[in-house]
Amino acid sequence: MSTLTQHESVLGLFEAAPATFLSLRQLGKESFYAQGMPALKAEEYKFTPLAKKLESGLTDFSPAKPVKISADQVKSAVFTGFEGVVLVFSNGQYLPELSNSTEGLTINLLSEIENTPLGSIAKPDKDPFAALNQATFMDGLHLSIENKKSIESPILLLQFHQAQGGQVISPRIWIEAGDFSKATFIDYHISVDAAPYFVNKVVEIKGGVHANITYHSLQEESNQVIEVSNVVTDIQQDSQFTSTQITLSGDMVRNNLTLNLLGSNSVGNMNGLYLLQGKTHVDNHTNVDHTIPHAESNELYKGILTDQSRGVFNGKIFVRQIAQKTNAFQQNNNILLSEDAIINTKPQLEIWADDVKCSHGCTVGQLDEEALFYLQARGIDKITAKGLLLYAFAGEVLDKIEDDSLRNYIVNQIQNRLGSNF
């Protein structure tokens, strides 16, 4: 048995946890011990041996302290043309001096909130890493949007990460969108340098009646980084939740996205794009729980893999017995560009109601030779032609991003890559 599977090395993390929310932390700790690190071959972590990775990739299992971030760093990280609120974080800690706000948005530190709602949506017993975060997070932000308030410009959560010797960063965010409110969040993770670390993020999103929440997550960290992200959302009647998960780099990345549709006529849209090269390993697990009749969910995840990268997709649509008249659609498409790239995909349906329309589709393939030939026959060189086709493939997901600055940024990143080894 390794030290990590016996959880000895996480002790340092537990000891360093601040003396806030003691009962909450205790619960997280107990829940983590009850579940343990996912064993090799455990169904939920079958293709993503995180315990092993953490063991070999981390020399130090202690929390990373916030580092100094300059205004210039913020300026250069914000997308060109971005207009909106910027909230800056260093290793999970909020930096108010570099951040701004807007009308209708209330920003509090989690430690300032009495009767904390943490853990009520991202339940610690559902995932060992959510439990670990609950036991060990330092602090984080509580964001709330007023009822009937529509914030048109996006809110950028700019998360800088930097650690020495593979420390642990545990960001924690609570987002609450009031009834009839509207807001867009962009959760952007960047590495300050190339040193390895482990990010264990939990985001809880609570949507009110008729709320419209968009949550984009952009992961662009160094290729030494191990990341686990748990994003859990509860939405109510007539509300809408849209998410986009873009992963461009990292060593081993695991994203758990859970959407609980709790009110009728609610709509969930979950989109994702992973462009992997080198040895990057990305695992997207999504889970939509249809708990009520007349709700809809749409899911589209696309991936382009090259070099020795590995992609894992597991999409689960769960339709409970009372959730009649459910419409649920799921699609996962992958393109493999190299001999050594691997994809493991499992689009899963669990349907307990009969009056439903559910479908899923999944494809794995390569670029269409005929389309490539068509373009080449018209004088477009092979690399450009390939780039065009791949861009068109990814475009279906990118087109769903409303914010121009974010979309343009990702398009640029993709174009830079397509010229090289993609």
């Binding site: 689009p347 109601a353 009969d354 899923h360 494809t363």
Partner: protein, 481 residues
Amino acid sequence: MSKDNQILEDLNSKEYEHGWSVNFETDEAPLGLNEDIIRWISTKKEEPSWLLEWRLKAFKIWQGMTEPTWANVKYLKMDLQALRYYSAPKQSKKPKNINEVDPELIAIYERLGISLHEQKRLQGIAIDVVLDSVSVATTFKETLGKLGIVFCSFSEAVKEHPELIQKYLGSVIPMTDNYYAALNAAVFSDGSFCYIPKGVRCPMELSTYFRINAANTGQFERTLIVADDSSYVSYLEGCTAPQRDENQLHAAVVEIYAGAHAEVKYSTVQNWFPGDKEGKGGIYNFVTKRGICAGDHSKISWTQVETGSAITWKYPSCILKGDYSIGEFYSVAVTNNYQQADTGTKMIHIGKNTKSRIVSKGISAGKSQNSYRGQVQVMKRAHNARNFSQCDSLLMGNQCGAHTFPYIDIANPSAKVEHEATTSKIGEDQIFYCNQRGIATEDAVALIVNGYAKEVLNQLPMEFAVEAQKLLALTLEGSVG
């Protein structure tokens, strides 16, 4: 709406027609499972020592294994020590041909609609009949023998063709494969063996009919089909069991070996007792079936119609080892009342230019749960592998469930893999369309279900297709005609 309810009511109230049993003298092993029982079975069957060693080895491995729990089925665990692992009708001496078989036994099969008299049977099907633990008769042996085809019971094959058995037994499904395969390897009692020599096209369908008669017994048969290079065989399997209150275990193993350019078509209509309306009784059907396309250009095709069993746990698979080999899986799984089925396939692409096709149609009614669980794996060296999978589920009634667990694992960029699945109930617009044209709701449902399953039923050999259609009709009686 009331008419729909009526149809569902009818469908739920359907009874199992093969639920009778017959009392006759049997030769039984004592209750329980231990090394002595295995020796007892082996002695009873006058087996050579290598086979006994093989069984004991499997038993040791099995003892170290635990029952799998990953399947999407819920059931009370069976006490394996309370079972009898061998039960055979008492026959004074081994019958040489069909005329010497106990008329009482023949009567059982007549009642099931299976005539053992060659002249009475439709031309073109040779049948091996297995009652509880032993094979009672094999027809058309001589006709087949002239072509060099071996078709006989497993125990006979062990005696007469030990070299073939030793070569192929456990070569596709090793005893270490899983809990039930190991159990089967330790206690298997009989089954069918067939060998098609090089270049021979088997002129008739080969068939095995399994019947569980005795109470408190488990049936553990083992089928081994070997198609040598450039041969062809179509193989059918059918099964029924009496209606009893307690659950019975059926843990079979089927191994198929296909040499270069060989083709094996394996069809099964599974109609074990599914339990009564309250979910009491029924067969636990935990079966391991796997074929290997060992040679280039070989082909294995599985077709299954699953209507019976309380619990089904069955994944007929293909290992596509030879270049240009083809694997196919066609399945209709119908569950009603409290039946639970977790079934699907595995297509393992190893050779270059291999192709596989999966068509799975699930129909759930009553309070049943129907799961498709499949895997398409393309290994690193399997260039130009191609797979198409389609798994559709049809739901009838609001208390049943349909689940899909497809695993797609691709490690070669030239692979083209497509998977699609849908779940829905019969569209009201479809029924309405039929109604408008003067087709009664009941007939419309029949029409739609038949059309839905047609893609798979079309794959069955003619005589079987008729039986399968009848079975579908019976399982969903009142809605399918």
